[in-house]
Symmetry: C2
Subunit: 237 residues, 2 copies
DNA sequence: CGCTAAGGTCAACGGCGTTGGCATAAGGAG
DNA sequence: CTCCTTATGCCAACGCCGTTGACCTTAGCG
């Protein structure tokens, strides 16, 4: 086994596999994303990856220290996509909203991958860029520094948390997904008004609401909260 | 293998294992929680559970259809703990805040278990009771029904999503946890002001803030948002 | 008291991540 | 053009995993 994996930019000798293809980190990550989409969030295995790339599973260890490092590389790719092409407009509320929706959307576009990566912190370039962008936008809202940091934390964690939660629903195997739908349509819709009056009272609305993501609504509520504090600060100051 | 697992309340014959202990669903769930706490969120395996209970792993299949059903039973137990002893005060904001913090706390008390269960919907009794409680509280805030449902969704998903995210951090293996700490103290704290001025500007505040949960702050912002809308409705109505 | 079947045990299957040893060919040095 | 080094591929194996089918034993009912 390699004591240390050769970093991608230092690779000189590129042998081809028995099938003739030449491997690379990028190729592996792309294959992994494909496997995840096709086989679900538990469908990414070294053996399957080897099968998809037509190489021996152990070959992967020449590129990554283990399966976990492959997962981190996938997460890095996702967060990179989120901010690609974004630039601030100068209006803090619109910018914060756009940032949140973009990050959320990037994860949701690959739900099975998101499930594995959303709660991992890497400290890599794309993550840092996102944090800087959010703090820059908040700066323009005019809050004092401690409040800014608190709001930043709430905003970024809420975004990641909802991405993880929504991804988990989307990534459920079909069988489990239908089981959940059945729960909503049968259990919740037929709940007797005597025992659960409030649920029963809004059951049809619930059935329609719960199949969508609550993130946009939660984001807007959060932004309302920030706006209220920002206004209060300006009123005092 | 049993075609159908005998439900707990119908069990008559209770043989003891070779070790003399008599099994039950509750005993198994308790052992599972212990294993999770001791060995991390990936440390719950049928073989280990058998070892802990001093029985053959296959015996577990007399009580649960598989590992996944054991995980659901664990989740059910957690959400049961969250609401035990709670009762509404009548003041919607205080009640909603208490409910959110209680559910969050119940999951956080068992982070390794929470990681496995937070994003699962079971439609079981405790889950329904929690939903009814939240809707009842929101009803007293005086929002129109569609708005109530939207706010309910945002509230409950925010709570579960943060519980999952925070649990994931707490449940990290010690090695990974220290690695993340190092990222915060080294990467973020030493970021040059030229490339990341806003991060650099609040770096010390960040280091202190990011090791805590953002849920209370995010919850308060959400409540602020709800209060603003509730006030607007009352102003119009 | 004797029968039935619930609930225990055992052995085995196929799959997993990971590793050490080995073969081979890429690419620099002369 | 040839030789040497070593990066990078492959193979076989280890010890886990969840799950299953066959078997045995004993609790509890008639």
């Amino acid at each position: 086994m390699p004591k240390a994996v050769v970093p991608e930019e230092k690779r000189r000798r590129r042998r081809s596999t028995r099938a003739g293809t030449v491997l690379s980190e990028q190729l592996i990550v792309e294959a992994a994303l494909r496997l995840l989409r096709e086989h679900g969030s538990t469908g990414l295995t070294a053996r399957r990856l080897g099968l998809a790339l037509d190489c021996d599973p152990s070959t992967l260890y020449r590129y990554f220290r283990g399966m976990d490092e492959i997962i981190l590389a996938i997460g890095d790719a996702l967060i990179g996509q989120a901010l690609r092409g974004w630039s601030p407009s100068g209006e803090w509320r619109a910018d914060l909203r756009a940032l949140g929706l973009r990050i959320h959307a990037a994860y949701i576009a690959h739900p099975q991958a998101a499930v594995l990566t959303t709660s991992r912190v890497t400290g890599r370039a794309n993550e840092l860029a996102a944090d800087e962008a959010v703090l820059a936008v908040l700066h323009s809202a005019g809050l004092p520094a401690p409040e800014t940091v608190r709001v930043y934390h709430a905003f970024i964690d809420q975004t990641l948390a909802f991405a993880a939660l929504d991804a988990a629903s989307l990534a459920l195997p079909n069988a489990a997904l239908r089981a959940e739908e059945v729960v909503w349509r049968s259990t919740y819709a037929r709940l007797p008004a005597t025992s659960h009056p409030h649920v029963a009272g809004v059951a049809p609305l619930l059935a329609a609401e719960m199949v969508t993501s609550a993130y946009p609504a939660a984001l807007d509520l959060l932004l309302d909260g920030i706006a209220a504090r920002s206004a209060a600060v300006r009123g005092r100051g």
